[in-house]
Point group: none
Chain length 225, copies 2
């Protein structure tokens, strides 16, 4: 799974240049051009790092940073701004930023600064830990406790279940699941997914309030009652 970066920059020219460069470095970049859009994106997805312009339409970079910090404790926030006065930098750090880069800057410097923080955040802890009915899942490999039983899921089983859980409010298309877990390339694949769904249903059968429902011809949804 590639590293997801939220890039917020209202100058479209610069925004695209940065995005292209980062994409080229294998980062998965989401570009927003105003503060509200950025806030939306941040609420809906989980990013590994943010690059924020300071002056933005609708919601400036500093208040964005504060909202982000209150939601996600730890995410690295890099400010990028034309305002290079010391007071501006201070404001950036005080709103929770980890770095403050003054425009114009070199793309190479940006890369290195990004790497510094990704290196230092590579979190050993996965935040994928949740309760599902009678079951308790945690960590990368997931265990399930029912009565005295304890079932350890395999990696792919866990991947599928986590994905279903994280999208429990909507129907996930087969294609989406395949792309997300098996990779963008070969989601023309066979019936593996069905086999995994089948296995998961078996594990979850003791709690009838948890159901993996197939919407014929559309996809799957994890339903919790």
């Amino acid at each position: 799974m590639s590293t997801k970066i939220l890039l917020v920059e209202d100058d479209p020219g610069l925004g695209f240049v940065i995005k292209d460069n980062l994409t080229h470095k294998q980062y998965d970049v989401t570009l927003c051009t105003d503060g509200e859009e950025a806030y939306q994106q941040f609420s809906n997805q989980s990013f590994d790092l943010c690059i924020l312009d300071v002056m933005l339409p609708k919601k400036d970079g500093f208040s964005l940073a504060q909202s982000f910090r209150s939601k996600n404790q730890n995410i690295p926030i890099l400010f990028v701004s034309a305002k290079g006065l010391i007071e501006d930098k201070i404001a950036g750090f005080e709103s929770g930023g980890d770095d403050y880069i003054v425009k114009p800057f070199s793309m190479k410097e940006l890369f290195y600064r990004i790497e510094v923080f990704l290196r230092r955040t590579s979190t050993p802890e996965e935040e994928t830990s949740f309760t599902l009915g009678a079951y308790q899942f945690d960590g990368n490999s997931i265990t399930l406790s029912h009565r005295n039983e304890l079932k350890t899921l395999t990696q792919k089983e866990a991947d599928v279940l986590k994905l279903l859980y994280n999208n429990k409010d909507r129907v996930l298309k087969r294609e989406e699941i395949l792309k997300s877990i098996w990779g963008d390339d070969d989601y023309f694949m066979g019936r593996s997914l069905d086999v995994f769904i089948s296995k998961l249903r078996k594990y979850l059968k003791h709690d009838p309030s948890i159901q993996i429902v197939n919407y014929h011809g559309v996809g799957f949804r994890l339903e919790i009652n």
Copy 2:
């Protein structure tokens, strides 16, 4: 215990100013004025953060950083230099630096940048002495008491066990263990880890409530029931 900073700056005036300011912020600052002295200090004490001037007598900041990194992979290194060209910055990051501040700079900015990295490196402290079921481990070389037996573990056996213990709440990836114990470089290694796990299991077998569990394809976890 207060935070220890190694400050290396050959201009005595600036060096003292920075040191005074940092001391005022309750940091425990060691000031060196040349590269060799800095290297000595680093070898003899354990610091939490380094501030390095780039141009230094005897051994420049970049090569210092490289030596430091190879000894203590994790310590934050902040460069401070009058040379502000992009090539200089790149060289700084490539030698392992976390930040590169161009002189003249504001003391306040330096404070914030220091805090950023201290915040991100604060470790939950490692336990080197602990009880594990029927066994008692302590110190660097670890002994195990069961009935009347006493088993002294070797260095690497102890390293692996300590690492497992200090992460007993999660699954440690092979790669993480190898990186942490064998070093960043050659964790492409063979099956040594498996051999050590096997030995540890043998030592621990008398207490079935202690288990080193393998999560296939993922890694290991020490489980205590």
